[in-house]
């Protein structure tokens, strides 16, 4: 049985108004379970690519499909169902007063059955069940990041977008993140991780998307 690629981008062009194009006619396909490290210097459009897949920016030209959903489509909830994201600011924007409710929030917004069980499962997979009853703002920086990651995976997305998820994580937390990424990939989740950290990229990724001086290369 062949499954369709989770992420399809065709002839994608993007740039911010009044600035040079970040990329032009970019085409990419990622199969289920692929882990891609997105590398390259600052300001080349790595984070913008994630934002395009997240439906937070509109391409100037071209087409994107994430598990069959157009991220720029009219109903943002359709994309939320198939994608999860940990942005650099995610661990500052908690909305609930208990970790377990925070992690269950997306599933609840999407009216999935038994959000509490999904949240408990996500916390367990990251080995942070002990934090469930705590206030997210009482956690240390590493724990906050893990909670943000648990919140992004609890509803079972097909695409996981990570922006510098390893930033400032100590060895134990880093290992937790790496283990989770590998487990998610084994389940068929496609993962795009923007990172400056070569060691981290090598630990997680089967493919690298490099934003270099001579354009964008996939290796």
């Amino acid at each position: 049985m062949t499954r369709e690629d989770t992420v399809i981008a065709e002839d994608l062009s993007f740039g911010y108004p009044g600035q040079a194009r970040l990329f032009e006619r970019l085409s990419l396909r990622f199969a289920p379970g692929t882990v891609v490290a997105v590398l390259g210097p600052n300001g080349r459009g790595k984070s913008s690519l994630l934002r395009l897949f997240a439906g937070l920016e509109q391409p100037l030209a071209g087409r994107i499909s994430v598990a069959g959903v157009d991220p720029a489509g009219p109903e943002a909830r359709d994309l939320a169902r198939v994608a999860g994201m940990v942005a650099q600011s995610s661990d500052r924007h908690f909305l609930r007063t208990k970790v377990q409710d925070e992690v269950a929030l997306t599933a609840r917004n999407l009216y999935l059955p038994d959000p509490a069980a999904l949240a408990a499962q996500a916390l367990e997979r990251l080995g942070i069940t002990g934090l469930a009853a705590q206030h997210p703002l009482d956690l240390d920086a590493g724990e906050k990041r893990l909670v943000a990651l648990a919140s992004a995976i609890a509803h079972g997305p097909r695409l996981l977008l990570l922006d510098e998820i390893q930033r400032g994580l100590d060895r134990i937390n880093r290992q937790k993140v790496i283990r989770l990424i590998r487990a998610e990939a084994a389940q068929g989740t496609t993962i795009l991780a923007v990172t400056h950290d070569r060691d981290f990229a090598e630990a997680i990724a089967g493919a690298e998307l490099v934003f270099g001086d001579d354009g964008i290369r996939l290796t």
């Binding site: 390259g40 210097p41 600052n42 300001g43 650099q88 240390d140 920086a141 590493g142 724990e143 510098e164 930033r167 400032g168 994580l169 100590d170 060895r171 134990i172 937390n173 880093r174 290992q175 790496i178 400056h196 060691d199 981290f200 630990a203």
Partner: protein, 240 residues
């Protein structure tokens, strides 16, 4: 010795001590790293060492207690660059150049001196070409460099960097590391980080470990790789 830390302890009200009995000394111009895992109080320690917290114990710069200094002397002595650099921009300047000049302006320095320090700090951080850029239009990495430039323009004698390179790409990291090695004035640097990072090679060779509130070390880089470390401490270049 320039900085003398003796038996320094701190706890938030009603909480167990975050660190206790820290003692170490720093020579003028010396560079030192303090490595600690998440939740071990790195950011609080940075503020404590800079004299921004009411800590117990002694904290002296060349015999003078940090918390009895005048505002101006304190600002001339120590700068911290933290993990959220955009909060460190004053917002007083429109352009990056004005933002970097904010500190020297506050010291009431002569115009020529303000300009020289600003130009120099922009150069150290590879920001000269962005001097006239609107500060609110900087990217994450540029903002981190802007905050660093703002601190260096004060020509501090002690710089405390709390995970200073997290948002920088390899090119900017190398450039900054190079300039930190060859500053035209004597500046001691304390790097706080979650572990040994490859840019530290050749830049810092004395490491302290902070774990569960206790300080261990100092260790040389060689010893750092040879000794069993607290399990949270991370060594770049080693398998995860």
């Amino acid at each position: 010795m320039a900085l003398n830390v003796s038996d320094l302890s701190f706890s938030w009200p009603g909480k167990p001590p975050l660190f206790r009995g820290l003692s170490f000394a720093l020579a003028p111009g010396e560079r030192l790293s303090i490595l600690a895992g998440n939740g071990m109080g790195k950011t609080t320690l940075a503020r404590g060492l800079a004299g921004f917290l009411t800590t117990e114990g002694g904290l002296y710069w060349q015999g003078e207690a940090l918390n009895s200094m005048s505002r101006a002397d304190h600002a001339r002595l120590v700068q911290i660059v933290g993990q959220r650099p955009h909060l460190q921009l004053s917002g007083r300047g429109y352009s990056l150049r004005e933002e970097v000049a904010f500190g020297p302006e506050n010291l009431g320095l002569p115009v020529a001196e303000i300009r020289a320090r600003t130009a120099e700090a922009l150069h150290f951080l590879n920001l000269t070409h962005l001097a006239e850029r609107d500060c609110r239009r900087l990217s994450g990495g540029e903002t981190q460099r802007a905050a660093l430039a703002g601190a260096l323009a004060m020509r501090p004698r002690l710089l405390i960097l709390d995970e200073p390179m997290t948002d920088l790409d390899a090119e900017s990291r190398d450039a900054l590391a190079g300039h930190l090695r060859s500053l035209p004035w004597e500046m001691a640097v304390i790097f706080l980080d979650i572990g040994w990072q490859s840019w530290m090679a050749g830049l810092v060779d004395r490491h302290l470990l902070l774990d569960q509130g206790e300080m261990h070390g100092p260790l040389t880089t060689e010893a750092l790789f040879a000794t069993p470390l607290p399990e949270r401490i991370f060594l770049a270049g080693q398998p995860a």
